[in-house]
């Protein structure tokens, strides 16, 4: 590897200054994907125009034009983002032939900053899942260890980045779908504050929880991508007009004035000891950098999973009604409209998606609304209030991301409950709209990566990046894959 073992910022600088050509960088990316992705299965479709796009970027640079923050670097985009003229499936059979005629705002922003989108990554169908096993396009292998999941739902995004196909990989996170795969694949993955990044053109799973964010191989790379995609969008009523800092540039690793909360509910007796020791080690390292720690309480943590699943599936049951075989996507022909609807949807959606549509339909249905959807939305406020109270005494919170390292393909897929409760450490931030990031914290005895999660108050992603950089500088986690599926790392 000539380029892809470097950071996004370094290679971007080389392309911008003419020392490297985008075409060469993108070619290396495509070659690597061609070489490994038959086995890893990170991509659902490739962008045939990537090389042409790279040539255009090179030409513009040659002419002395200013090309943005992501000039000429290959980026992967989860197949939940609509890309104009490029097939977008949400990893579902029901969209297996859908070619959007518009792009997500995030995609437009990436392109405006000069990124070259090389392809669309695999994920759990409609982002519903934690292992990428619910994909109509097959499971994604974890590049660290064949036979292990890359996590989900942004499993393809994480695998693509871990395999160093690209310099950044766009994911979406509704209940942990960026942070969990980032943790399982040894990456820096951030779910920004709800409203920080436009959701326009990103296929909706649960509208009040979904956020787009990057998975990258360094703190600064993640920060640079977030700066590129964040900000108010007039096409998304829930996007925020909060000013967007130049995150990478403003990183400050001085921890002496930083107080970090340790939520006792996240460190119960049943916490996996390897994960616990990785998080405790991170705490020690930050202490050595001058950070102060205090125990805090988030007393309603145990309710986060049921609240998350009730809210998310309720919204999803409505969001997925548009897949009806009329205007786009799969249609199972029939002489009768209602038959067409139910045949198309039964054939087009996978088991987990159907399960969640039904759960959500039930939670909203007459006679159950108050006990399920409304109750969950009320507890959601209680959970937010826990965080708001906690943040009056600290600048950030540290905790685990996952309950285990990358588990084996097929190991948990039959056990819905344990799969759902895997999300225990990640769903609260979505419910409360807070930013959260998974940062590589260490390796298990088996040699699989373990992430550490940092959360911060609304719109304080900078605090997270500061802590992430302090950890990156001082933890010195060995992210070289031993026994991995790809070489050169």
């Amino acid at each position: 590897m000539k380029f892809l073992n470097q950071t996004l910022l370094d290679v971007r600088d080389q392309i911008q200054s003419g020392k490297a050509k985008s075409v060469d960088v993108v070619s290396e990316s495509l070659e690597r994907i061609k070489k490994y992705d038959k086995d890893i299965n990170a991509f659902i479709s490739m962008n045939d125009a990537a090389i042409k796009r790279a040539e255009e970027i090179d030409a513009r640079i040659k002419k002395g034009e200013k090309v943005g923050r992501l000039a000429g670097v290959p980026i992967a985009v989860k197949d939940m983002y609509c890309t104009k003229g490029l097939k977008t499936t949400a990893a579902s059979k029901i969209l297996n032939n859908f070619i959007p005629q518009y792009s997500a705002t995030v995609v437009e922003k990436l392109e405006k900053e000069g990124a070259v989108i090389v392809g669309k990554t695999n994920c759990d169908e409609f982002a519903m899942g934690s292992s990428n096993e619910n994909s109509a396009y097959g499971v994604v292998q974890n590049p660290w260890r064949k036979g292990h999941v890359a996590g989900g739902s942004s499993g393809g995004a994480a695998a693509a980045q871990a395999a160093r196909y690209v310099f950044g990989s766009m994911g979406t996170d509704t209940g942990g779908s960026i942070r969990q795969p980032a943790s399982l694949c040894g990456l820096y993955g951030i779910k920004p504050t709800y409203g920080r990044v436009s959701r326009y053109g990103i296929i909706a799973y649960a509208s009040s929880l979904d956020q787009a964010g990057p998975l990258a191989s360094s703190t600064k790379d993640a920060a640079e991508i977030l700066t590129s995609i964040a900000g108010f969008d007039e096409m998304d009523s829930t996007s925020s007009s909060e000013a967007v800092p130049d995150f990478a540039k403003e990183i400050n690793t001085d921890m002496t004035n930083v107080t970090i909360g340790i939520p006792k509910e996240y460190f119960g007796d049943d916490l996996n000891p390897e994960i616990k020791s990785v998080v405790l080690n991170a705490i020690e390292v930050l202490k050595s950098q001058g950070a102060k720690f205090k125990e805090i309480s988030l007393p309603h943590t145990k309710f986060a999973v049921p609240v998350y699943y009730l809210v998310a599936t309720s919204e999803a049951s409505s969001n997925l009604s548009r897949y009806d075989g009329i205007r786009y996507g799969l249609r199972v022909p029939s002489q009768d409209l209602n038959e067409l609807y139910s045949q198309t949807r039964s054939d087009g959606f996978g088991t987990e998606v159907k399960k969640r549509i039904m759960l959500g339909t039930f939670a909203l249905s007459s006679g159950y609304y108050d006990a399920y959807y409304k109750k969950a939305s009320q507890v959601r406020r209680i959970i937010l209030n826990d965080f708001l109270k906690a943040f009056t005494g600290c600048d950030a919170i540290i905790c685990p991301v996952t309950t285990s390292t990358a588990f084996k393909v097929g190991e948990r897929i039959k056990d819905t409950i344990s799969m759902y409760y895997n999300d225990i450490f990640t769903t609260s931030t979505n419910l409360a709209g807070l930013p959260g990031m998974s940062i590589p914290g260490g390796l298990s005895k088996e040699g699989l990566p373990i992430g550490v999660q940092i959360m911060a108050p609304h719109f304080k992603e900078q605090t997270i990046f500061n802590i992430s950089q302090a950890l990156e500088n001082n933890l010195k986690v060995d992210l070289k894959m031993k026994g991995g599926m790809v070489d050169g790392i």
């Binding site: 609509c82 518009y102 326009y200 205007r327």
Partner: protein, 477 residues
């Protein structure tokens, strides 16, 4: 038992389409027509990932209407999703308002047969329209041009007791909407739709009967007819021992009947929940106050002013102010001629009759108000007689010509010159010697005969006053 033993209870749901440029949640044109699916985009066709963004003008119009209907404008209101599957509902849900509408608790006064009645308004909420499906037997075609066009649904209390009251309520609401300029109120084109909830109960009963909802009614006359039919159908059913089924019924105006739409099982579980893609609407007092001060004069206020300023009877003032265009027309006529009473008389009798006969709206009246004012002024000044004016008016209505031109070209100017009239009288007297003798020998009744003959000889142009005076003198001899 007879029909008269029953009481009818009626409530209306009026859907008013706002006259705005762009749709409720996207910036596609909200105008009528356009090529098939021409006014569409990813948002209003429910493409994956598309999101709604609220139209500023719609919010302003909703608040305006709410205030004009004496509603409480809620400082916070919430959009909700109403979930159901239908081909012209591309998202699989309609964005509407459910438990927290923008306006609540208002009322409006109607006047029917000289009696005033207050009709309560339960709520008014913003929602998006659906697209249009056209059925062709073997297949159905879907056009989404109307998808997400903004509507205000105005829900009345079940306060109406007769088809006439229901129609009058609908007319009054339409009048307010048109005064505000927020909706053109065209029932035929569907920019205003009235669904009527109708139930009957025995007189003296306090519990409401089972109601049916009547749809597909596209004129005020049909509101009356549809409800009348439905009342009789319901009473007949009850008298025959059959229970009324709560259902939606379509009105067929050609058959003058209502037909059941065959309600589907579970069709009513709409699973409303707050729309997470939109933020709740919030207004401060200042915003509401600002809109309040910007409200134009409304029909009831204008009617009161007409009674006061122009000394019009209440009935006339009301008729003249139902339509904003009519009231504007009247005031322009008054401004031109300066005679409020005469202006009202001409409009209320001649003009309304001609408009009615030719099925024209006041907005396409061939007589411009300035021209009618001019004509009235000619009567006032004695240039033409009231009788001649009717001829002139008829000509104005058909040709659109100015009264001056008509009077000049047809020589219709009133003759007030005494010598000219004396000459005519002399001729008439010479031509009727027998009658003259009879009159002079005491047959006073013949005076009318001479007036008629003289007027006829003057082609109706002689000033009646001058003619009378001269005739009296001359006949005496």
């Amino acid at each position: 038992m007879a029909y008269s033993d029953y009481e009818t209870v009626i409530g209306l749901e009026i859907h008013a389409q706002f006259s705005v440029n762009s749709k409720l949640f996207c910036r596609c044109s909200a105008s009528y027509g356009g090529g098939d699916n021409e006014n569409t985009c990813p948002v209003c066709t429910g493409m994956p990932g598309a999101l709604p963004v609220l139209n500023e003008k719609v919010v302003e119009f909703a608040v305006k209407t709410g205030l004009a209907l004496n509603c409480k404008v809620n400082q916070k209101s919430v959009f909700s999703r109403k979930n159901y599957f239908y081909p012209d509902l591309p998202k699989g849900y309609q964005i509407s308002q459910f438990d927290e509408p923008v306006c609540g608790n208002g009322h409006i006064e109607i006047l029917l047969d000289g009696e005033k009645k207050k009709i309560g308004i339960t709520r008014a909420h913003i929602e998006e329209d659906a697209g249009k499906s056209t059925h062709h037997g073997e297949f159905t075609l879907v056009n989404l041009n109307r998808s997400s066009v903004p509507l205000l649904e105005i829900v009345s209390e079940p306060d109406m007791r007769s088809p006439q009251e229901a129609a009058e309520y609908a007319r009054t609401v339409r009048s307010v909407l048109r005064y505000l300029g927020v909706c053109d109120g065209n029932l035929e084109e569907g920019s205003m739709r009235c669904d009527c909830n109708v139930s009957v109960r025995k007189k003296g009963e306090t519990k409401l009967g089972t109601r049916t909802e009547l749809k597909n009614i596209n004129s005020f006359r049909f509101i009356e007819k549809a409800i009348q039919y439905e009342i009789e159908r319901q009473i007949d059913s009850i008298e025959a021992g059959q229970a009324i089924v709560q259902e939606t019924r379509l009105y067929d105006s050609t058959k003058n009947k209502t037909f059941s739409m065959r309600s589907k099982e579970e069709a009513h579980d709409y699973r409303y929940f707050p729309e997470p893609d939109l933020i709740p609407l919030k207004f401060d007092e200042a915003y509401i106050a600002k809109i309040k001060t910007s409200l134009p004069e409304l029909p009831n206020q204008r009617s009161a002013r007409f009674q006061k300023d122009y000394s019009l009877p209440e009935y006339d003032a009301l008729i003249l102010t139902i339509e904003k265009e009519m009231a504007d027309y009247y005031e322009t006529v008054v401004k031109t001629c300066g005679n409020a009473k005469l202006a009202s008389n001409w409009i209320m009798s001649e003009l309304l009759r001609e408009l009615n006969n030719s099925k024209k709206e006041i907005s396409d009246c061939p007589i411009k108000p300035e021209a009618l004012g001019e004509m009235i002024m000619m009567i006032d000044k004695g240039t033409i007689s009231g009788k001649i004016a009717k001829t002139v008016f008829a000509e104005m209505f058909t040709s659109g010509k100015s009264p001056k031109d008509i009077v000049a070209s047809q020589g219709l100017t009133q003759i007030t010159d005494t010598s000219a009239i004396e000459k005519i009288i002399d001729e008439v007297m010479t031509a009727n010697p027998n009658q003259l003798n009879d009159y002079r020998s005491g047959k006073d009744k013949l005076f009318g005969f001479f007036v008629g003959q003289a007027m006829k000889a003057s082609k109706g142009q002689a000033s009646p006053e001058v003619l009378n005076d001269l005739l009296k003198k001359k006949l005496k001899g």
